[in-house]
Amino acid sequence: MGLVLNDDEVMLRDTAEGFFANKSPVTALRKLRDDRDETGFDRALWKEMADMGFAGVVIEEDHGGVDMGFMAAGLIAEQMGRNLSASPFLSTAILAATAIREGGTAEQKAAWLPKIAGGEAIISLALDEGPKHHPAGTSATAEKSGNGFKLNGSKAMVVDGHIADALIVAARTSGEEGDAEGISLFILDPKTKGVFTERTIMVDSRNAARIELDDVEVSGDALLGSLDEGMAVLGKVLNAGRAAVAAELLGAGSQAFESTVTYIKERKQFGTIIGEFQALQHRASHLYSEMEIARSAVMAALTALDDNDSKADLYCAMAKAKLGSVAKLASQEGVQMFGGVGMTDEYDIGLFMKRIRVLQELFGDAHYHMNQFALANKF
């Protein structure tokens, strides 16, 4: 279990740390927001991330990637979390890359993976439909139609969906809502007739979309992975997504925590530095403990993915559950300890609270994963 970073990993982390702190600090997100940028991210930054190898971090070298694995991906995500850096890293470099790598035909891989690694294509996963993450609840349908399929349904919380060059859509080809079986994945062009995309600006000023599929015709080539067995690929995609989101939560939570500790060492009230108040000290120390526990959970999940551990599902569920709770606690304690200024848009702590709220919801919140953890352990 790789719970301690090796030299390569330390080097990568340091590189990523410097990169995001310089190229995409919190002020960059503020600018995107305040300028009401239509894409919601900085294409130049994404290109630079591709040049650094970040976009191809889990893509094989044959397809233009650097194939450094999930621990490396997590280290990058963590630094993005620390800086609230906006980019299609999660949607494209993690989710789409994993989906195509795991489920794609040679043609699909050749068509898409080099573009992902090169920062030339943005691809979004259109999976969830309702207010909560629920893969088996997929009710969008794909009926056979000639040599291809006809897709119908509605998708929500499609991260980066409004700027995607391709969509990976989960749709039901058999079975009923609630069945894990019978779901298939399709990769399609969002400009296809019948695809309606609405950008939804979320609380964290980041990108998502709602997508309507109205008799969308795709060819048989659009199928990604085996018919009816999309969940096999999706399972790996979601594990990757959960671990990466947990890593981003670790970064965001750590930054929220550390900036709070810094603040309470400076702020004076009642003639005293408020960090001298023991009640705050104990809460900060408790939170430090939780953050350390959380870090282990993230590292273990990322390692489990790299090791193809048979319990990777459980590791990722644990990490996502734990980080959902702990990063939230860090943001809550942060706003409270900053006090009045923590409520103002001028300070960053509120932006962390917003981003953490979205991340903890993505691909299952703590409650969802506690439930999955229990079911997997047969209780």
Binding site: D128, G130, P131, K132, H133, A156, M157, T200, I201, M202, V203, D204, S205, A208, K268, Q269, F270, G271, F277, A279, L280, K328, Q332, V335, Q336, G339, G340, G342, M343, T344, D345, E346, G350, L351, M353, K354, R357, V358, E361, D365, A366, H367, Y368, M370, N371
Partner: protein, 394 residues
């Protein structure tokens, strides 16, 4: 028929006849409130009529003496009036810091001249007031405020900065804590003064919050002239006035949890978002937390009622207002976290029509301020430690 019964019957009859139909609709947003003041633009003819009729009865401030614009009602009569208004869903005719805060302060600490000058315009909704308390370095530690008030013989000159002055950009006058002496202990040397927001040197700038636009302002004073007659209470003893009003404010905020609770129950919001399976909320883990929060919410509402009933029975609410403020605001934060959990992706939308411009998300973020404003949770816990538990050094 007792006098109270007679009063109830008269009030009911008058309200039925005089409260416009539009003013009997539930308040759907801040825009439905009537704040009055020099620059007030009535939202509707009904809003204007309703205010005028209530002013004429003295019922915007029912318990104030008639000479100050009130109706001189007893507390019992006021309660009946409230009940009768609630019965038909009548909106409050006037929202006003002048009524809620300045009024009690002037009635207790003001001179007869001050009362006669300032209270009737408040009662009539002609002058809108704001409150100048907190400063950037005097938040929880309010008494360390530094806004300087110099004695210039026949007038004062005020210099300094306030924050969290609600609606300062829309108010006509401000009641303000300033420092008239800084040679003694910090609670000494504070004075309570009133001045017109149109006085040269006053500048109010709205503060943007994490939840979006806000009524709060940063307010700057540069050589602002204040007439000596506008000092309330004893010079250098303004802390007495402030303490009196803070307790007042805490009780208002503490009750908020309960007020919010009057909306749609959490479990209904959760059920409509997540669905019910086999008679149970579809998210079993969230279900446990919803049940826990609703039980706490119910027991908390009962506690508010109990403490108010005890206070009526002669005891003062005292430091228990800190307990209610602490518990109510923390609980409210918990409830909004659970609402966000329950509504998931939908609740995260910030700008869409679908989400009513992120109404829930903005409310969720706004609740984070509940445990900061009006004295932080930490300050309330200190007060409980000191005044109720009498722990040493608290």
């Amino acid at each position: 028929m007792t006098d109270l019964k007679a009063f109830a019957a008269q009030a009911r009859e008058w309200l039925e006849a005089n409260c416009p139909e539009d003013m009997r609709q539930p308040i759907s947003s801040d825009k439905d409130l009537c704040w009055g003041g020099r620059n007030w633009e009535f939202q509707s003819e009904a809003q204007k009529t309703w205010l005028e009729r209530m002013v004429a009865k003295g019922w915007t401030v029912p318990t104030w003496p008639k000479e100050y614009g009130g109706a001189g009602l007893s507390r019992a009569e006021e309660n009946i009036l409230k009940k009768e208004m609630a019965r038909i869903g009548a909106r409050s005719p006037l929202s006003s810091f002048g009524i809620w805060m300045l009024g009690p302060a002037l009635l207790k600490f003001g001179t007869e001249e001050q009362k006669l000058e300032h209270l009737p315009p408040v009662a009539r909704g002609e002058i809108r007031w704001c409150q100048g308390y907190s400063e950037p370095n005097a938040g929880s530690d309010l008494a360390s405020l530094a806004t300087k008030c110099e004695d210039k013989g026949d007038h004062f000159i005020v210099n300094g900065q306030k924050v969290w002055t609600s609606y300062a950009d829309q108010a006509d006058w401000i009641f303000c804590l300033v420092r008239t002496d800084n040679t003694g202990k910090k609670h000494h040397g504070i004075s309570f003064v009133l001045f017109d927001m149109e006085t040269p040197g006053v500048d109010a700038r709205p503060i943007k919050l994490i939840s979006g636009r806000s009524p709060f302002c940063e307010t700057f004073f540069e050589d602002v002239r204040v007439e000596k007659k506008n000092l309330v209470g004893t010079r250098d003893r303004g802390w007495d006035v402030a303490k009196y009003l803070l307790t007042h404010e805490r009780e208002m905020i503490g009750g908020q949890g309960q007020l919010e609770g009057q909306g749609r129950p959490l479990h209904e919001i959760a059920a409509s978002s997540l669905g019910i399976e086999d008679g149970r909320l579809a998210d079993p883990m969230l279900r446990a937390k919803v049940a826990e929060a609703e039980i706490d919410d119910w027991a908390f509402s009962l506690t508010v009622a109990r403490k108010l009933a005890e206070a009526k029975a002669g005891a003062s609410l005292g430091a228990d207002s800190s307990m209610l403020k602490y518990y109510g605001t923390e609980l409210n934060k918990r409830k909004y976290e659970l609402m966000m959990d329950a509504t998931g992706h939908d609740g995260l939308e910030w700008e869409s029509d679908r989400s009513n411009d992120g109404k829930l998300a903005r409310s969720w973020l706004r609740t984070k301020g509940n445990s900061i404003e009006g004295g932080t949770s930490e300050v309330q816990l200190n007060i409980i430690s000191k005044h109720i538990l009498q722990l040493p050094g608290a």
